[in-house]
Structure formats: structure tokens, C-alpha cells
């Protein structure tokens, strides 16, 4: 497995997403942020900065989610449907390089997308602060242009990277529709995981409790990666918490990529 091949595939996925006008969502993001900033100053009784921060982070997460799912599910299946997989596999490309290259290509797209959104987000917050007459007014919980918001952006990126790996995994063996449904289902389950851990408060059956505990550890746990509310309210998020979550996401992605490669290597395209 060579890094050069993976990089080439990743760059081609990125270029393809640009050709497919995926980055058009940035325009929607910019329009949304400007519109929200203008409207909220009339509606929110002094809470406009807090709400602009909330809306911006939620929009980054939501736009990224749609990109991760709807492009992720087509990464492999599209090549199979278009039969371009035959031409690709005839080249000196290993199947694992193909899967991993595809994954990093979409992650690169998400990274570029989120980076541009973050710049636009800070620009809007900067303009609103300037128009409000200060960078950190006494009624705000945190400065308008708060670097700590980047922690939430990084966690959103990690969450999207996990979702991309899920979508890619499902796309290696199922149809795009089914893959999308399964990915969204796991995204939802990923935010209810804490309930699985505390299942003993709901049922008394020991086997069920054990099953719930196993599912808690096996299914993707996305809720801890959501720190949007904490950073907006300037609640300290320790570096160790970020590190542990990063490690969790990295290992989970590695598991999903291994599984995707394993399934894809056994597929018969004849």
C-alpha cells in the first residue's frame, strides 16, 4: 500500500466533488449567516451573538453531515454502477488503496469545506462585534471572535470523519439508499448512546443490560464529540477531553476502514 496512490485517489475525489459543485453549500452557508445576523439583531433581546454562534456551528455540522452521507454512500457504489471500477482495478491499484484513498478524498473535501465555513463564521462574528461596538461586551459570556470556538469546529470535523467512514463502509456492500438509511440511523443512535449505558435504570433483565452495554461500546458514540453548547457558553473544555475524543474517533475510523477494506477485497466484480 503506497501513500502516493492513496494521495492520487484522494485528490481525484476532491476534484470530483468540486466538479460536482459540492462547495456550492458554502454560498448557502454565507447567505444563512448574513441573513441570521441581520434578523437576530431585531428579535433576540441582546442574545444575538450567542444565537449567531449556535446557528453557525449547527449549520457547519448539518451541511457537513449531508456532504458526508450523500457523497460517502456513492464513493464506492457509484464506481460499481458506472462500471469504472473495472478500469480502476485493472491499474496497479490495490483495493485497500482504493478504499482508503476514497475516504481521505472525502475527508479532504470536508476539511476544506469546514475551513472556509469557519473563516466565514469568524468574519460574520467579527462584523457583528464591530457593529455592536466592542469585541467583548459585558453582557456576552465570551468574546465574539472567540478562538475557543475552533474546538467545536475540530470536534465537528471528527464527527463528520466518523460518519464518512460509516457511509463508506455501508457503501462497500449495499445500495446507496440502504447505505444512506443505515448511516443516518447510526448517526441518530450515536446521540442516544448514553441511554444504552444506563439501561439498568429502565430494565431489570441482566442479559438485556449486558447487550445494551455491549452496544454502547460497539456503536459509534457521537454525543461526546458535540461540544458546541460548551464553547458558546465559554465552559472550559480540557485538552485531555479533546485528546481522548480524538483518539476515540481515530480508532473508530481505523476499525471502519479496515472493515470496509475487508468487505471490498472480497467482492467479486466479474
Amino acid at each position: 500500500m503506497t501513500a502516493r496512490v492513496i494521495r492520487t485517489i484522494a485528490v481525484s475525489v476532491f476534484k470530483e466533488s468540486v466538479r460536482d459543485k459540492v462547495l456550492y453549500n458554502l454560498v448557502f452557508f454565507a447567505v444563512l449567516m448574513i441573513a441570521v445576523s441581520y434578523l437576530l439583531s431585531q428579535l433576540t433581546a441582546g442574545q444575538d451573538i450567542k444565537i449567531i454562534k449556535d446557528v453557525g456551528l449547527a449549520a457547519m455540522s448539518l451541511f457537513g453531515l449531508f456532504i458526508a452521507v450523500f457523497i460517502g454512500i456513492g464513493l464506492v457504489s457509484k464506481e460499481v454502477e458506472k462500471r469504472s471500477i473495472y478500469a480502476l482495478l485493472a491499474k496497479p491499484i490495490r483495493r485497500q488503496e482504493f478504499v482508503i484513498g476514497k475516504y481521505f478524498g472525502l475527508v479532504l473535501t470536508l476539511f476544506v469545506n469546514l475551513s472556509i465555513m469557519a473563516v466565514a463564521y469568524y468574519a460574520v462574528l467579527g462584523v457583528v462585534a464591530w457593529m455592536s461596538g466592542g469585541w467583548y461586551l459585558p453582557q456576552w459570556e465570551a468574546p465574539a471572535v472567540d478562538p475557543r470556538l475552533l474546538k467545536a469546529v475540530v470536534m465537528i470535523f471528527l464527527q463528520l470523519s466518523v460518519i464518512t467512514a460509516l457511509a463508506l463502509f455501508f457503501s462497500t456492500f449495499s445500495s446507496p439508499m440502504l447505505a444512506a438509511a443505515l448511516t443516518f440511523a447510526l448517526y441518530v443512535v450515536g446521540h442516544f448512546n448514553a441511554d444504552l449505558k444506563n439501561f439498568e435504570t429502565v430494565v431489570a433483565s441482566r442479559p438485556l443490560i449486558v447487550l445494551a452495554r455491549v452496544l454502547y461500546y460497539v456503536l459509534p458514540n457521537l454525543a461526546p464529540l458535540d461540544i458546541k453548547s460548551e464553547v458558546v457558553h465559554a465552559v472550559p473544555v480540557p485538552a485531555s477531553y479533546l485528546f481522548l475524543n480524538t483518539a476515540y474517533a481515530a480508532v473508530y475510523i481505523a476499525i471502519l476502514l479496515s472493515a470496509s477494506t475487508f468487505v471490498f477485497m472480497r467482492r467479486d466484480f466479474k
Binding site: 428579535l43 433576540t44 433581546a45 441582546g46 442574545q47 450567542k50 444565537i51 449556535d54 446557528v55 456551528l57 449547527a58 455540522s61 448539518l62 459585558p138 453582557q139 459570556e141 464527527q159 448517526y187 441518530v188 446521540h191 442516544f192 457521537l222 454525543a223 458535540d226 458546541k228 453548547s229 458558546v232 457558553h233 465552559v235
Partner: protein
């Protein structure tokens, strides 16, 4: 037409858009849109909403916050007798369940749920319930203890409870020194206007919301208006003493040299003198109307001589 397809398309689109606007204008004139004043809150369980929101609970909290403000504003625009504020508590409860750190949401509730009708919902019990939720979720914040103490003082006139909450707030790390002094003031001078003034000054200085500052400013002006009313009542009494009859208009006091002009409240609106009862109040059109019901004097103060009040 084949040479300029873009122009033809643009012109057709403009015509069709004009038509669609025109049709709607005609329809709406002929069949007036049914407007309902009924306000509905489909989901009342904050826990359910919090779960359903996945990672978007903070944004959903913002939506409910805006709805709470709109509900409050809409009710305020109605004639006083029709103001209900029925959805204010559920909306604030949903907002703060979805975002448990939404400080202004709690404090908004504290003042406007407790405020007597028609200025607010007249439900200090719900205001206290909301603030108790705030304390359960943010036990490190003394502000909420202060707000509960204030509601017991200002709205319920229960000085023992007020003192207890001010004391509990004062025990929290980082609480200001004056919180404990409030507790002492409650027990000794509960109904004192100076104590009320000091509390509203502190609320105004909290700077968490420009809107709260405006409310505090209004309350301070109302307290000034009450001071002026006390002074005017003294002059009315002086007029009665001199002439042996009750004054029925400001002109009589001006003619007697007890006033130079028609007295105005701090918002600039003339005071109202009821010719039947001789009572003085602010006009309904004044920005200060209605004046708050003042807390009654604490038992210790009632028995104390008037000169002991600051």
C-alpha cells in the same frame, strides 16, 4: 423568438410572476385570510425535544427563546384585560431545558412570570420553579438564588423566605458581599423603598442583558414616581388643613401656592388626581403605568418610628 431565447424566457417569467402576484392579491381581497389568535405549543416535553434535537439542541433552544420573546411581545401589545401569557412558562421551560446554561432565559422568566398582570404573567410560583431548575442545573451560580430571594421579597412579600434565599446565595463561592446584607435587610426593613431601590440598582448593573437593564431603569423610575406621590400627598394634606376641604384638581393646589405647575411623573406625564378619593397615581398612558404594588413593611419596621427609616 429563436434568435433571442433568453429575452423571451425572461419576459415570459416576468409576466408569469406578475400574474401569480396579481392572482394572489385578487384572491386575498375576495377571500380574506383566516387569522387565528390561538397560540399553540405542540410539544411541551423539554426532555423529548432535547432527545429529538440530537446535537442541535442549542439552536432549538434559540428558536424557543425567540418564540418566548414573540409571545411576550404579542401579549404586551394587546389591551391589558386580554393579556394572558399562557405560553410564557412552557416556552421558557423548553428553552432552558434544551440549553440549561441560557442565563437570560431564566432571568427573563424570573421577572416577567412573577410580574403582576397586566405587565407580566402574575405567576411568581412558576418563576420560582424555573429558577429552581436553573439552580439544579447550575448550582455554582449565585444569581439565581438572588432572583428567587427577590421574587419572595418584591412579589410575594415573604421576607423570611427572601432572607433565606439571599443567605443561601451568599454562601456560594464568588457571590458578592451585598447578598448577605440583603438577608439582614429583609428581616429588619423588608418593606423599605430604599432596599427595593438598592436591589434594582444591582439588577441593572448585572449587565447580562440590555433588556434587564431597561427593566431595572423603569423600576427605579417607578420608585421615584412613588417618592413624588408621597410628597404630593403631603401637599394635598396641607391643602386640606389650610382650607378645610379636599382638593379636587391640581389647579386648586397651584392657586394655593402649594404647587408651581401640574406635577409630572419621571416619564414626563402629568400625575392623575382622583377628585373623588383624593388619591394620586400615574396616568394609564404613562410609561410607568401600572406602578408596582410595594412590599408591605416588615413587622419590625411597622413597629419602628418613621424617623428610623433611611
Amino acid at each position: 423568438m429563436t434568435r433571442r431565447p433568453g429575452v423571451t424566457f425572461g419576459a415570459s417569467l416576468a409576466v408569469m410572476l406578475a400574474a401569480i402576484v396579481g392572482i394572489q392579491v385578487v384572491r386575498d381581497r375576495a377571500f380574506a385570510l383566516s387569522t387565528t389568535d390561538e397560540q399553540v405549543l405542540y410539544v411541551r416535553s423539554g426532555r423529548l425535544l432535547e432527545k429529538s434535537a440530537l446535537s442541535y439542541d442549542a439552536v432549538l433552544a434559540d428558536v424557543y427563546w425567540i418564540r418566548a420573546l414573540q409571545h411576550y411581545g404579542r401579549e404586551r401589545l394587546k389591551p391589558p384585560a386580554e393579556r394572558k401569557y399562557e405560553l410564557l412558562y412552557p416556552l421558557l421551560d423548553l428553552t432552558t431545558t434544551l440549553d440549561p446554561r441560557f442565563t437570560v432565559g431564566y432571568r427573563f422568566g424570573a421577572i416577567f412570570l412573577a410580574e403582576p398582570q397586566p405587565g407580566g404573567a402574575g405567576r411568581p410560583d412558576l418563576a420560582i420553579a424555573l429558577l429552581k431548575n436553573a439552580i439544579a442545573r447550575n448550582p455554582e451560580k449565585w444569581d439565581y438564588y438572588n432572583d428567587i430571594g427577590f421574587i419572595y421579597y418584591w412579589n410575594l412579600h415573604d421576607y423570611q423566605q427572601a432572607a433565606s434565599w439571599f443567605n443561601r446565595g451568599g454562601e456560594i463561592a464568588g457571590a458578592p458581599w451585598w447578598l448577605r446584607t440583603y438577608a439582614a435587610v429583609m428581616l429588619t426593613r423588608g418593606g423599605d423603598r430604599q432596599a427595593s431601590r438598592a436591589m434594582w440598582v444591582h439588577i441593572g448593573q448585572s449587565e447580562q442583558s440590555e433588556w434587564l437593564q431597561k427593566t431595572a431603569h423603569l423600576r427605579l423610575l417607578q420608585l421615584d414616581a412613588l417618592d413624588l406621590i408621597d410628597e404630593l400627598q403631603r401637599r394635598l394634606a396641607e391643602f386640606s388643613k389650610r382650607t378645610g376641604q379636599a382638593a379636587r384638581s391640581w389647579d386648586q393646589l397651584i392657586a394655593a401656592g402649594l404647587l408651581r405647575d401640574v406635577p409630572r411623573d419621571p416619564s414626563g406625564t402629568p400625575y392623575r388626581l382622583d377628585p373623588e378619593t383624593g388619591r394620586i397615581g400615574v396616568m394609564p398612558e404613562s410609561a410607568l403605568w401600572p406602578l408596582p404594588t410595594e412590599p408591605a413593611a416588615a413587622p419590625e419596621m411597622k413597629s419602628a418610628p418613621v424617623s428610623s427609616a433611611p
